[in-house]
Assembly symmetry: C2
Homo-oligomer: 203 residues x 2
């Protein structure tokens, strides 16, 4: 247990609050549409104070991404504890978790092709580290599931990994949600089915 001063605790709590707001706004509007003024207003502090904690808007987004990746690592770790689950089950559970986060409006969506943001993330050491950790953990399960014959072995592992990342921000979820015809639980099961079982019928 590391000793932290009271002041440091307050600081940390404030930064957590900031990241929670950023996370939600990023999920709701995306990086470009989100403004720093909004974030400040949502947290309830002045914009200049924000910049004492984070150097730039890109930095805010990166920190939010690190936060989500850390949560993913926690989830992965808890799934690793279950020795009975097959690698395929574990991959499915991770996918289910990402959909739950997205349904809760807490999955930050970063337009994949953005220029300024992409460059900032590509140079953000902590973000890259977390991304690699998640990729490695999932990669282990992917190759294991392919070896076990439960995951299509004809697919390069990287495409499976990319697909899982992409489905975590799948716009189909928002469309289904907007349609209003299905419950949250149904939406998740339908999306998991299209992802793992595919659109074609299985006999």
């Amino acid at each position: 247990m590391v000793r932290v001063s009271f002041r440091e605790q307050v600081l940390h709590a404030r930064e957590e609050a900031i990241l929670a707001s950023v996370n939600r706004l990023l999920a709701e509007k995306g990086f470009d549409a989100m403004t720093v003024d909004e974030v400040a207003a949502d947290v309830g502090i002045a914009k200049a104070s924000l910049y004492k904690h984070f150097a730039s808007k890109e930095d805010l987004a990166a920190a939010a991404m690190v936060r989500v990746l850390d949560l993913a690592l926690e989830k992965i770790e808890s799934l690793r504890a279950d020795a009975l689950a097959t690698p395929l089950d574990q991959l499915k559970e991770v996918a289910r978790w990402t959909l739950q986060v997205q349904l809760a409006g807490e999955m930050p969506s970063l337009p994949a092709q953005n220029s300024a943001l992409r460059a900032a993330l590509a140079g953000h050491a902590v973000y890259l580290d977390r991304l690699m950790q998640v990729s490695e953990q999932l990669g282990t399960w992917i190759t294991a599931a392919q070896a076990a014959g439960s995951l299509n072995a004809a697919l390069p592992p990287e495409i499976v990994l990319y697909t899982l990342f992409a489905r975590a921000c799948d716009p189909v979820l928002a469309l289904l949600k907007a349609g209003g015809a299905h419950s949250d639980a149904q939406i998740i099961e339908l999306l998991l089915s299209t992802c793992f079982d595919g659109l074609r019928a299985r006999r």
Copy 2:
């Protein structure tokens, strides 16, 4: 054959050139990152001239979307001519076509959750009309394929439709392309496989 004056032909050609540029820039950087200055420079005319043709930036994007949807309708129409193809085949061919367009860097990607743009599109009659036409054509094939037992009948048709739309802009393609490990043809087949066959192995 409708008679059109020479002047109208020139006008039309210029607007086609504008839309081609918008299409490419929209595919490359997305709506928010694209600037009207860039479009004007790319076409080789002054920005003010652009605004004589299109009332706003949103209007530009909507026109580009209509153009792509019209191309999709053409593709669909040509596929309808093939009486031997099954509905599933035809859906796959449409999906393949969207991936080819995306690979060519000509699939305009509109951040699905954008505010100003979404509102503009939701009020754009021509865009909505084309979107409905495409949806109806695909819907026919979807229900036919489900009746034939080739498409998973447990999926609501709408989720199949949404999934096909979403895969047309799937960020996984850009990631695979950036990886450089696969040819364009391989990328398309891999993506079609993950979409229609799913990640799970089929026996």
